[in-house]
């Protein structure tokens, strides 16, 4: 009661209250702005990732085309990578020696597409790319032979065939607009330097496992 009655205490009650409220409102506003900026960044990133994903899918299609056109060559390269005999009708579990992936890696090395701004020296350029899209590209970063054997005909399964299971990893690269913009923005009055090629790139990886089965023409040893 004394506090209320005292003229000293009664002064400046509204002002601290409003200041407190304003501070809270400011904190709330800053939080909302941060969330909004983050949301926008996330959305932009989603679109960039979507672009990179489908560019990587182009790499997968390119690889599958090569596998379709050159099935024997990829089969031989896979057998060499696993150190297995390509003619063995029933390889034991764990069969194979220390092979070399020299030929298999080379098989995937020319599956490239897009521009040359990020180190892709050859390959098929993107013919429909416009503006910044001309720098988009894809490549096969890894290829592994998971299974390679020749199945000869028997009573249970009369179809003689070569079986090859491969795992491709394709990566699609697109320009990361966000990184470019952030670098270019810099500080007020002093624009930042242009983003480096590495900073401009956003990439997405696609892994594709494919089983290739071809009618067999070889015998066994």
């Amino acid at each position: 009661m004394n506090a209320i009655r005292s003229p000293r205490r009664r002064r400046a009650v509204a002002l601290p209250m409003v200041m407190g409220f304003s501070f809270l409102a400011l904190v709330f506003g800053i939080m909302m702005m941060t969330v909004r900026v983050e949301d926008k960044r996330q959305n932009l990133m989603n679109f960039q990732q979507l672009k990179a994903y489908y560019v990587a899918q182009a790499g997968v299609q390119h690889a599958l085309l090569k596998v379709r056109i050159l099935p024997n060559e990829v089969y031989e390269a896979s057998a060499l990578a696993r150190g297995v005999c390509p003619f063995d009708p029933s390889p034991a579990d764990g069969a194979g020696g220390t092979g070399t992936d020299l030929v298999l890696t080379e098989f995937a090395s020319d599956i490239l597409g897009g521009g040359s701004t990020s180190g892709v020296a050859d390959g098929i350029p993107l013919v429909l790319a416009q503006g910044e899209e001309t720098a988009w590209n894809y490549r096969i970063t890894s290829v592994r032979a998971l299974t390679t054997f020749t199945h000869t005909n028997d009573a249970a399964d009369p179809t003689a065939r070569k079986v090859n299971v491969l795992e491709f990893q394709a990566v699609g690269y697109v320009e990361d607009k966000l990184a470019s913009n952030q670098r270019a923005l810099g500080t007020p009055g002093a624009p930042g330097p242009a983003a480096t090629a590495a900073e401009k790139r956003r990439w997405e990886q696609v892994t594709k496992i494919v089983e290739i089965t071809r009618s067999s023409v070889g015998g066994g040893s």
Partner: protein, 221 residues
């Protein structure tokens, strides 16, 4: 009846002068200074979340379309016909422009054929042991891999690996002579909420621009 003395009357005049009015004035000014930007931020955030929702709808629809083009439709499907500069448009499809959760979407699909003569594949032939000649393979391990599970020098130095050969698809895939084997697809998607202006205005650069392009390739497999 004796009236209780007025509280204000007990405050010395020197301390009473316009303090409350000044306090309220400052408080209201402060409150307005904080609340105006915070409320505009609130309105902005509300419209931003509507934009985010529309972007998500557009992004999901774009991914759905691309997956259809890549996995569901036949390579020779009418929609994947080379457009020769005239894109396939959503408004020409049955059902016209789709509306997903209140977001109107319009898309264009450009298709270009990658000529067979421009697609080159590098490959090698591996000269394995003769299937009918000794020594036979043991437990599926290639005969040219020695007992120490190491490739024989002859194998690894290239004696048994033919030099790299590079040929065009036109030369390698004679079965499909005259038919395209690789197409490039460019999907441009635009979206708008019911309150947005017409699609034509959304293509102009600026904050209202809501359009995204995806590029991929489809192979004849």
């Amino acid at each position: 009846m004796i009236r209780p003395p007025c509280r204000v009357a007990r405050i010395p005049r020197s301390r009473r002068k316009a303090m409350t009015f000044l306090e309220i004035l400052i408080a209201v000014t402060l409150l307005a200074g904080v609340m105006i930007p915070v409320s505009s931020m609130l309105i902005d955030t509300a419209s931003q979340s509507a934009a985010t929702k529309a972007e998500s709808a557009a992004s999901s629809y774009a991914a759905k379309l691309m997956n259809q083009f890549l996995d569901e439709l036949a390579f020779d499907d009418a929609i994947l016909d080379a457009t020769g500069g005239t894109p396939h448009k959503s408004e020409d499809q049955p059902g016209g422009n789709p509306v997903i959760d209140g977001t109107a979407i319009r898309w264009d699909l450009e298709v270009a054929i990658i000529p067979d003569s421009t697609i080159f594949f590098r490959h090698r032939t591996v000269r394995y042991h003769s299937p009918s000649a000794a020594p036979p393979c043991t437990n599926g391990t290639e005969a040219k891999i020695d007992a120490g599970n190491v490739m024989t020098p002859a194998f690894s130095t290239g004696v048994n690996i033919a030099p790299a050969n590079e040929r065009s698809v036109a030369d390698l895939d004679r079965k499909n002579a005259g038919r395209p084997v690789l197409k490039e697809l460019r999907l441009t998607i635009q979206w708008k909420s019911p309150r947005d202006p017409a699609f034509e205005d959304l293509t102009q650069p600026g904050p209202r621009r809501r359009t995204v392009s995806l590029i991929t390739r489809r192979a004849r497999l």
